[in-house]
Amino acid sequence: MSSPFRNSFLPRALPSLHAGRGRGWVRLSKRRFASLAHPPLAPPLQGGGFIALAFLLALAGCDREQRDMNGQPKAETAAFVPRGDPRSAEYENNAFHIAQGQKWFGWFNCSGCHFHGGGGMGPPLMDDQWRYGGRMEDIVASILYGRPNGMPDWRNKITEQQAWELAAYVKSLSAHPRQDALSARADEMSNTEPQTLQERQKVVPETKAQPSGEEN
């Protein structure tokens, strides 16, 4: 079949490609398209193999991240969230869920009491002191079921997935999250720094319990 580009309409200026960086191209085209009895210039489409390869590589990136839009609520909602809930691994350190949690944190007025981790009406969330436990399951339980000293219960106001996403964000405020999972933009006016720039407090290892002195 006759290629429409055979009778090359490329201007005479193109020979300059030969001289410089185009040389590699020309060589390749000479080898691959030697059958074409025309100037050894490689019109873009004749590098088709490269393009196909690049396209395949790009396609391979499509499923790099799965976003679960629906969330999978459990059939029964227990009065506590047991340790070892598999959702912990799914939500913690996940960029999408942390970003969603960052959005809910402002929407549902969490920042009204906890501000941007520093605390106020509520205790700080960016340090390593956890009144009711600092694991993902504990944070989700605090959010969904409330706590005695003023944390309201949100189980009727947000969905479970939103609670897990909030927990992912809260955990990222204090723990050592993956830098590529954190949001590089703070969701509020420039009074605080984005999370990627904040220092993380070292979690101080607890000293072993000392033997007690003499007791009467």
Partner: protein, 644 residues
């Protein structure tokens, strides 16, 4: 760290400019004296200083010694009886003890008489109440009331535990404080954080009645000290940051049943505005302004909480109090003047019907709650003795308002303000600086004063001997960015990110002696930390106040004294409470103060907040990052007296 500046000598002619700007014509007398001082300053710069200094001091001395004629409203300030039955000392809110055993010369000999640990480590804002030989102290949540026997060295006789709901701790914006009880007719009246009012027998500590008038599911709490007068217990709610609708309720002192309730927003029948309502300024006249100056339905969650101080004039039978900020802080969500928030109401105490209203901050942009104290004075205005109330406004203007009509005679700045440009006395309206108005989507920087204002709730004291008002206040500025606030009942409804820091000069606190008649400061003491304690004035010309890092100070109250520090002692924790003075069973004069840092400014210590987030505690954490290193949580009553 502590600077004492003598205004007549060192300060620039700021007061003169301020007077000119605000258009106050307080009689030629004021301008004359100020001109004279201005002339002295120019003369002092010339080489032949000595002779002219003599000339100036000849003028200055009479200035200092001449009393300005202000005195507390007679009906509202009974003669000294050595007790302290309400946090404001009397209905005129003078916070002045006439006892004069402690004087300027012997105050340095004050010794600790006794202490009492409340075992509570949150912010203690209450004033100890002294009735006869008993002292009563309310604590922050869980709001215990301790009765101490002063004849037995302050030993606790009983404690009343009201058991407020723990969930109320989560909706208290600014620490779980309580501002004190009030004694009347053998009973103590106080409030609890979860919205209850209690009356207990002062002798036995047994409950007489209780009434739950606040709803924590809506975000309402109560922290204020009730005012009891004419058989009514006046209590208002807190929660201006929670989308709460503000109100003031009057309960019957005998039974606790609700007598009347005046809302701060909404239709006239809810606000108890009727035919006797005669506001002085035109912008406050109209039907149902509490609805029409808001977007539809916004007044229902509009704020205007009443959590501060109430004064009472027994002669006019009127109560005076201020309303809190409108909600949310993001003013773009609530176009309109937002009546009747951030203003002063005068009401008839028997029926609650409003008599007049003055709005200090129409369409408030900066959370400038108007709940500060009103000191009821009779003082010369244009040469005539006039019944006025003097109030250090949160927005930084010292208002002198006619008690009968609501007319503003003067409104001078007593701190640094750049977000407002004076009050136009013809219309009563404050002039806002457009560039400092917070806007959605951006941060407006360097707004002075902060949301906590030039002065927050901590009350000033008036001394009839010097005629001066002693004002403990702040000098801070802020950056504010606002965004749309989402209303969910029982959660914060603010819509602002704030970051506070020290104002011009670098000092965050100021203690000012203010002349209410001449409307200018007489002397000032600069403090490193903001002042969050009340002031106490005594008959020995000594004023007391406390700092947030625990120093309890005695200052020379006289105008000529220049604010000289006479005595100070470092206590275990910062002081945000109200010092009181009383005559003990042995006849000596005692001074009592409670430590226990906290409140809005001290939350970083009492709640152990994280200093890495500058917006925490509504921006206060950024300004108070050094506080955890300077003090620790506490909660102890200290009582001082001269040695026997």
């Amino acid at each position: 760290m502590i600077q004492i500046s003598l205004f007549p000598v060192l300060a620039p002619a700021r007061p003169l400019a301020a007077i000119r700007k605000a258009g106050v014509t307080n009689g030629r007398e004021t301008e004359g004296w100020t001109w004279m001082r201005h002339a002295c300053l120019r003369i002092l710069r010339k080489p032949s200083i000595a002779a002219f200094m003599l000339l100036c001091s000849a003028f200055a001395a009479p200035l200092a010694a001449q009393h300005n004629g202000a005195r507390p409203a007679a009906a509202a300030s009974p003669p000294e009886d050595g007790q302290w039955t309400m946090p404001s000392r009397d209905y005129a809110s003078t916070r002045y003890s006439g006892l004069n055993q402690i004087t300027r010369s012997n105050v340095r000999n004050l010794k600790l008489a006794f202490t009492f640990d409340t075992l509570n480590r949150k912010g203690h804002e209450a004033a100890p109440i002294v009735v006869g030989n008993m002292m009563y102290l309310t604590t922050p949540y869980p709001n215990h009331v301790w009765a101490l026997d002063l004849s037995k060295g302050g030993r606790a006789v009983w404690v009343f535990r009201p058991h407020p709901a723990p969930a109320s701790q989560g909706i208290a914006c600014c620490d779980v404080v309580n501002r004190g009880a009030m004694y009347a007719n053998g009973r103590l009246f106080f409030t609890t954080l979860d919205g209850e009012v209690f009356a207990i027998d002062a002798k036995s500590g047994h409950q007489v009645w209780r009434n739950k008038i606040g709803d924590i599911s809506k975000g309402e709490t109560i922290t204020m000290s009730p005012l009891v007068a004419e058989g009514k217990v006046l209590v208002g709610n807190s929660g201006g940051e929670m989308g709460v609708r503000g109100w003031l309720a009057a309960l019957d002192a005998g039974t606790g049943r609700l007598a009347w309730k005046a809302y701060s927003t909404g239709p006239d029948k809810d606000v108890l505005i009727g035919p006797s309502f005669k506001p002085y300024y035109a912008s406050d006249r109209g039907a149902d302004l509490g609805v029409h100056t808001w977007p539809a339905e916004a007044w229902k969650i509009g704020g205007g909480t009443v959590w501060g101080w109430i004064s009472y004039d027994p002669q006019l039978k009127m109560i005076y109090y201020g309303t809190g900020n409108p909600g949310p802080w993001n003013a773009q969500q609530r176009p309109g003047d937002n009546k009747w928030t951030t203003g002063v109401f005068a009401r008839d105490i028997a029926t609650g019907q409003a008599r007049w209203f003055y709005q200090s901050s129409p369409h408030d942009l900066f959370d400038h709650d108007d709940i500060n104290e009103q000191v009821l004075l009779d003082m010369p205005i244009h040469g005539r003795m006039t019944p006025v109330l003097v109030r250090p406004g949160r927005n930084g203007y010292m208002y002198v308002i006619d008690r009968r009509t609501g007319q503003v005679y003067s409104a001078e700045a007593y701190g640094f303000i750049n977000s407002m440009d004076g009050v136009d006395l013809a219309t009563g309206r404050v002039r806002m600086v457009k560039e400092k108005a917070p806007k959605e989507g951006r941060v407006i920087r360097n707004i002075c004063p902060t949301a906590s204002g030039v002065k927050d709730w901590n009350p000033s004291a008036f001394s009839p001997r010097t005629g001066l008002l002693y004002v403990p206040h702040e000098n801070m500025c802020m950056d504010e960015g606002v965004f749309e606030a989402n209303y969910i009942a029982g959660t914060p409804y603010v819509g602002a990110d704030v970051k506070m820091y020290a104002g011009p000069g670098g000092h965050r606190g100021v203690f000012t002696a203010w002349d209410p008649v001449r409307a200018k400061p007489v002397w000032e003491i600069k403090e490193s930390l903001p002042l969050w304690s009340g002031a106490l004035a005594t008959g020995g010309d000594v004023v007391f106040y406390g700092t947030m890092d625990g120093w309890f100070k005695a200052i020379d109250a006289s105008a000529a004294g220049g604010g000289r520090l006479l005595w100070q002692v470092r206590l275990d924790s910062g002081i945000i409470s109200q010092p009181v003075s009383y005559r003990g069973p042995d006849g000596r004069q005692y001074v009592a103060v409670v430590t226990g840092v906290g409140g809005w400014a001290g939350a970083i210590v009492s709640a152990q907040l994280d200093p890495r987030d500058p917006t925490a505690a509504l921006g206060m954490v950024n300004a108070m990052r050094d506080l955890p290193g300077r003090t620790k949580p506490g909660g102890t009553l200290y009582v001082f007296a001269l040695p026997k």
